[in-house]
């Protein structure tokens, strides 16, 4: 047994050396017109050796290590408490949620501009993740091209503004409905596909949209994107330094305060917050309605659902359409926030990130998804000092989360009634 372990550990260590030394230890450097190899600095070489040693030791003593990890005391102080009574719990939840919402409304006036900007981005991703949650989490349809609807929403607003001068509030429903239409259209080809074929077709669809946006330069500006997208106006007031549209007044002039860049950031944040809350509430409503139930039935067992009379076509199409609708919302807000969009913002990696958020949050669970969105967007920002390693750690974190907690942060809890315990 020990010998077996030893051989295995040695093998793992050698593999570690093989995969690290050539890539990390030998750098291709362009010198003049030639490419030459340079050995990496000693720090890198030492860390490669250390990594190999660590792998060796870990594999050798793996059983011991995993055993002691399992025996570690549960650190959660609430673990052994009795679950609260249903009604009391609901009231507590309502109170805390209300406090949170009020806090979210007041908070931006107290912190720096960068934080509010970041929070707006988080809320956009929350909307996206909630929308994708409908398709993937609730209906169980593996959609890898969700970013296409996001792009449709964003470009709709950008183009409508560029050609017809349509403002944010009008473009919002138009963009969302157009995205929903695309969702509906995508639903048809994939009706008969299952599982991974569905995934690849949706992926292809996402890529097609991005490539079309990249190539139709006459319409979409191609890789240069579309700029000059305005911020939303409230009651005819603009929040910038100068008026962009004829006939609009300026916020800081109307209220006689000095101009600060914070105004438009905060206003955009508040609008996004309202939209995100709207999204969450609407989807929550849907889950309690027959539509939502039929999505879950489809996810659990498609054949059983069909045998019970559910129309597979309408269920799938409704899931795609509604999911896409909220992506359209998010796209419009994103276009306004950044002021500029290009096909680079809508690559497959975005779809992957949104999917990761949904899975990380626990598929189907709204609160979990919100938490996961906050975590996925904020943590890389906190790690700004390691900015080079950010994406590296992000990929690693995705893998680790799947290994250690695949059910997500907050697995979905269905509405249920608990039987009272017998005394």
């Amino acid at each position: 047994m020990a010998a077996q372990n030893f051989k295995h550990a040695l093998f793992c260590a050698i593999v570690t050396l093989v995969i690290s030394y050539p890539i990390l230890g030998l750098n291709l450097v362009a010198q003049g017109t030639q490419v030459v190899l340079e050995g990496a600095d000693t720090a890198t070489l030492i860390s490669i050796v250390l990594a190999a040693v660590a792998v060796f030791l870990f594999q050798l003593f793996r059983d011991h290590i995993m055993g002691s990890v399992g025996k570690m005391p549960n650190l959660n102080p609430f673990a052994n408490r009795e679950p609260m009574e249903q009604s009391k719990r609901q009231r507590l939840d309502t109170i805390v949620l209300t406090l949170l919402v009020i806090g979210a409304l007041i908070w931006p006036f107290l912190v720096s501009r960068g934080s509010v900007d970041l929070a707006t981005l988080v809320l956009i991703y929350v909307m996206l993740a909630l929308g994708l949650n409908v398709v993937v989490g609730l209906a169980g349809l593996l959609d890898l091209g969700y970013v296409a609807f996001y792009a449709v929403g964003a470009y709709t607003f950008a183009l409508l503004y560029q050609y017809f001068n349509i403002s944010f509030w009008l473009a919002l429903p138009i963009g969302a409905c157009l995205a929903a239409t695309f969702g509906f259209l995508l639903g048809f080809p994939v009706l008969r596909l299952r599982g991974d074929y569905l995934a690849i077709v949706t992926l292809g669809f996402g890529e097609i949209i991005r490539i079309l946006l990249n190539n139709m330069t006459w319409l979409t500006g191609g890789p240069n994107g579309i700029g000059g997208i305005p911020d939303p106006t409230l009651f005819g007031m603009e929040f910038g330094r100068r008026v962009k549209e004829e006939g609009n007044t300026l916020f800081h002039e109307v209220f006689n305060i000095s101009y600060s860049g914070n105004h438009k950031i905060i206003v955009l944040y508040l609008i996004t917050l309202v939209l995100a809350l709207f999204t969450a509430l609407v989807i929550r409503r849907f889950t309690k309605m027959p539509v939502g139930r039929s999505w879950e039935a489809l996810r659990e067992d498609e054949i059983a659902a069909r045998s019970l009379g559910l129309n597979r076509t309408s269920v799938k199409l409704s899931a795609f359409t509604i999911g896409a609708f909220f992506a359209g919302f998010a796209g419009t807000v994103f276009a306004s926030k950044q002021g500029f969009i290009s096909p680079e913002s809508f690559v497959f990696l975005e779809s992957a990130i949104i999917l990761a958020i949904v899975v990380l949050g626990g598929m189907g669970s709204q609160i979990g998804v919100i938490l996961a969105a906050v975590a996925v967007i904020i943590l890389p920002e906190l790690a700004r000092e390691f900015s080079e390693y950010r994406m590296l750690l992000f990929g690693l974190a995705m893998v680790l989360m799947m290994i250690w907690r695949p059910q997500g942060l907050m697995p979905m809890r269905r509405i249920h009634i608990e039987l009272k315990k017998q005394e």
Binding site: I23, L28, L142, R194, Y197, V201, F348, Y389, P406
Partner: protein, 307 residues
């Protein structure tokens, strides 16, 4: 005549790139056939193979080695070694612990691994395009030198022949050898294979290693053919190869080959006769069309759904 030569040239271009896609697509299709998951990190394995080949070639050049066949063989061996080790490691670290769970979990794990590997190479080697020496040069021309001439370069011939050899070797391996037989068994029914005493873990690892080796070969070949490497090019190639695998019917090795060739030729023809800008749209459009009429791909086995 000139039109025919032009068509022929685009056909040759397409078959070349198609063969390369086929080599990479095999990795996807074998893994899917055996454990039913999409290995998103496979494109990065291909990229790592290309980088390793370049590193080896540069190293040999600086040591003064000049004999071409030796350089190529050593580069090939090193690329295959590093790629298969990477493939093996990725399977052990990221896929084995999540095997058998809901299909989204390994998918996210694979995507995470893909991001990790891209950035690993990016941090280690920089993000710039690094030139790959053109070791095999020259070729044949035919046609009238005054008007259009079709040319086949030695590099293109090398790619065809290498792909052919690899495919034949793989088919023989799968159909004749013991491990090949075990691979087929495991892909048919994992549980039963386990009961019959096959070490399924080993077989699955072997599958990853085979796929990774072929991707490494493709990395060396395409690196020489195109001329540069950068950390991101594996992803695009991987996506196309995966499309090819699905086109041909995922899980079927001849399907991967067929899908690769069809995809390569359709890209080339679109570029040649319409515009290069839309070749990817045509590829994906083709995929969607085929899946509409044959949901399991061209050579895929129809999935029987059991209740």
């Amino acid at each position: 005549m000139q039109d025919l030569l032009y068509f022929l040239q685009q056909l040759i271009n397409g078959l070349t790139i198609g063969s390369a896609y086929a080599l990479i697509a095999i990795g996807y299709t074998m893994v899917y056939g055996i454990i039913g998951m999409i290995n998103f990190a496979h494109g990065e394995i291909y990229m790592i193979g290309a980088y390793t080949a370049l590193i080896t070639i540069t190293g040999l050049a600086s040591l003064g080695v000049a004999w071409l066949p030796l350089i190529l063989i050593v580069a090939l061996i090193c690329a295959v070694l590093v790629s298969s080790s990477m493939g093996w490691a990725v399977e052990r670290v990221a896929y084995r612990p999540v095997r058998g769970r809901h299909r989204l979990i390994p998918l996210i794990s694979a995507i995470g691994m893909s991001i990790f590997l891209q950035n690993y190479v990016h941090l280690a080697q920089g993000s710039r395009n690094i030139g790959f020496p053109a070791l095999i040069q020259g070729g044949f021309q035919f046609g009238d030198p005054d008007s259009f001439q079709t040319s086949i370069s030695y590099m293109q011939i090398t790619i065809f022949i290498t792909t052919l050899i690899c495919m034949t070797a793989l088919s023989l391996f799968i159909s004749r050898s013991r491990i090949g037989r075990a691979c087929r068994a495991v892909s048919q029914d994992l549980g039963m294979a386990n009961l019959l005493g096959i070490d399924t873990n080993r077989i699955i690892s072997a599958t990853f290693i085979i796929g990774a080796s072929l991707a490494a070969v493709a990395g060396l070949l395409l690196g020489m053919y195109y001329g540069s490497v950068d950390p991101l090019f594996g992803f695009i190639a991987g996506l196309k190869a995966f499309t090819a695998a699905v086109l041909g019917g995922i899980g079927s090795i001849p399907g991967a080959m067929l899908g690769g060739l069809i995809l390569g030729v359709s890209e080339s023809m679109t570029s040649g006769y319409l515009s290069g800008e839309y070749k990817d749209v045509v590829s994906f459009g083709l995929l969607i069309l085929i899946l509409l009429f044959k949901p399991t791909g061209l050579l895929g086995k129809p999935e029987v759904e059991k209740i």
